[in-house]
Symmetry: C2
Subunit: 299 residues, 2 copies
């Protein structure tokens, strides 16, 4: 492994699902329980309130309440990496300041995502405005590149400018576009910058190229295997075990991809926990049918 000292998070972070009560409100108690379970399974932290966590389907107040409840339930805030990037930069500022006030130090930040076809100058200006308004030296930001959802990609040119302007604050990127070559290029180009894979099967190859780890959805099911792969990616003595763990990760991801991924992960978590609040999603996302959920539970 050739990892230089990373300035940002490293390890396995779960893009945690958010359970919902019958009124489709976040189920705080079930979420905190899940976060603790994920940490016990070997996650290094919980990237809550991201795409997988349906964050953008929650109001600012709902997001803040879930974070507060999770900390109040005993999950250490330094283990939490909430998503705070929304369409309106004033709300991104508010969410990030609130997270800092809860003891969080690292957030995962989407660029503003309503307008499409925006320039690199515009993406840089947005992050710059946000970081200047927050103005808190404690803050560490993981950028969030997920063009298939945000439709606002984060280019290397933007990263370069942000690293020059905010060298202490900009510490990494979650790359959910699924192209290993882009992740490897960032590892190469930006020493010390934490490049985190957004797709579970890519943790292993990225780790072997000096990547920092992953923030992924299937971790809701196979965190233990991901933690093993992370720890032993280059350990020749454990190659067979690593391969077996990687095979389980790929299998879990494939299983969760037959039907819409988030609904599938929720159905499988409902099956594991026996808690109905895991079956629900906020529209426009919809839960699996009973038959689909049973198929996944049995398969």
């Amino acid at each position: 492994m050739t990892t230089p000292a990373l300035r940002g998070p490293s390890g396995v972070f779960s893009a945690a699902l958010t359970p919902l009560d019958a009124q489709l409100n976040p189920d705080h108690a079930a979420f905190a329980e899940h976060a603790k379970w994920l940490l016990a399974e070997g996650c290094d932290g919980i990237a809550m309130l991201g795409t997988t966590g349906e964050a953008n389907s929650f109001s600012v107040a709902e997001r803040q309440a879930l974070l507060e409840a999770t900390v109040a339930a005993g999950v250490a805030p330094e283990k939490l990496l909430p998503g705070t990037g929304v369409a309106a930069f004033t709300e991104t500022v508010a969410l990030t300041k609130h997270a800092l006030s809860c003891g969080v130090t690292t957030v995962v930040m989407l660029p503003p995502f309503y307008y499409k076809g925006v320039s690199d100058d515009g993406v840089f200006a947005a992050y710059s405005e946000i970081l200047q308004r927050i103005g808190d030296s404690r803050l560490r930001v993981v950028l969030y590149h997920i063009p298939q959802m945000s439709a606002v990609p984060i280019s290397h040119a933007v990263i370069e400018r942000l690293l020059a302007a905010f060298p202490e604050t900009i510490v990494g990127i979650k790359d959910s576009a699924g192209e290993l070559a882009n992740m490897e290029a960032m590892v190469e180009k930006f020493p010390g910058f934490s490049v985190l894979a957004g797709a579970d099967p890519l943790l292993l190859p990225l780790r072997r190229k000096g990547g920092a780890g992953c923030i992924t959805a299937t971790s809701n099911l196979v965190a233990r295997d991901l933690a093993f792969v992370y720890a032993h990616a280059d350990d020749a003595a454990k190659a067979a075990e690593v391969d077996a763990a990687q095979a389980r990760i790929v299998a879990a991801r494939n299983k969760a991809s037959k039907y819409p991924q988030m609904a599938s992960l929720k159905a499988m978590t409902a099956h594991r926990t026996g808690q109905a609040s895991w079956m629900r999603l906020r529209p426009p996302l919809l839960p699996l049918t009973e038959a689909q959920a049973q198929e996944l539970a049995q398969g």
Copy 2:
């Protein structure tokens, strides 16, 4: 003209720009002044806080404050059609209820726009959940089809289901995709449903096919011409004047399209009013350069 009695808004509605002060906050006074000017120019109403109005770059509180200030400044709330659709349905509910509390009756509602590739069932479920939670018989909703920004198109199948489920509430659609054929098809398929063009040059041809009017961006510059075209689209005695007005509309739109449209419209409005607050945009959108703005002012 074969327009059947429309249940929704008809006429020319301006997708009004939002002026910003030096801190990038909405300039309430300048906005109210602009709204009054647009009405005086012949607009039938102001579709404030839409895509052109940078609504999704403002917080919920900022949106509510601008609406309240506009009504307080003397603009009749029944002339205002604010955008209230955001990514989180609970905030869409809150914004819509707030608009109703201000005396507004008709809103323009985007579907939740963060998740992409959502099903028709999901889009229907989102609107359904929102409308049931609002539960106010006064409300009239114009759907908002702008797939190039929202990336969540509104299909005819969804409209059909919404009309069946909420026949009093769902009264029209703003179609900003720019395809006249789709607008004509909706006029044909959904009698009484207000189909509003989102592109200025399409007001004339759509009106001649029974469309309800338009909600457009160039109206910030040429509302008077749009109002003339709307009123006289089928008036053979005024064909030459209609053609001349249409030519000015097309020219204004083309002029505003050389550089990014919203920045161009703002620069031209700054030139007309002499007010600096029209030059500013919230990132990720950026203002024109001084040279670009001067070019538009002179051209």
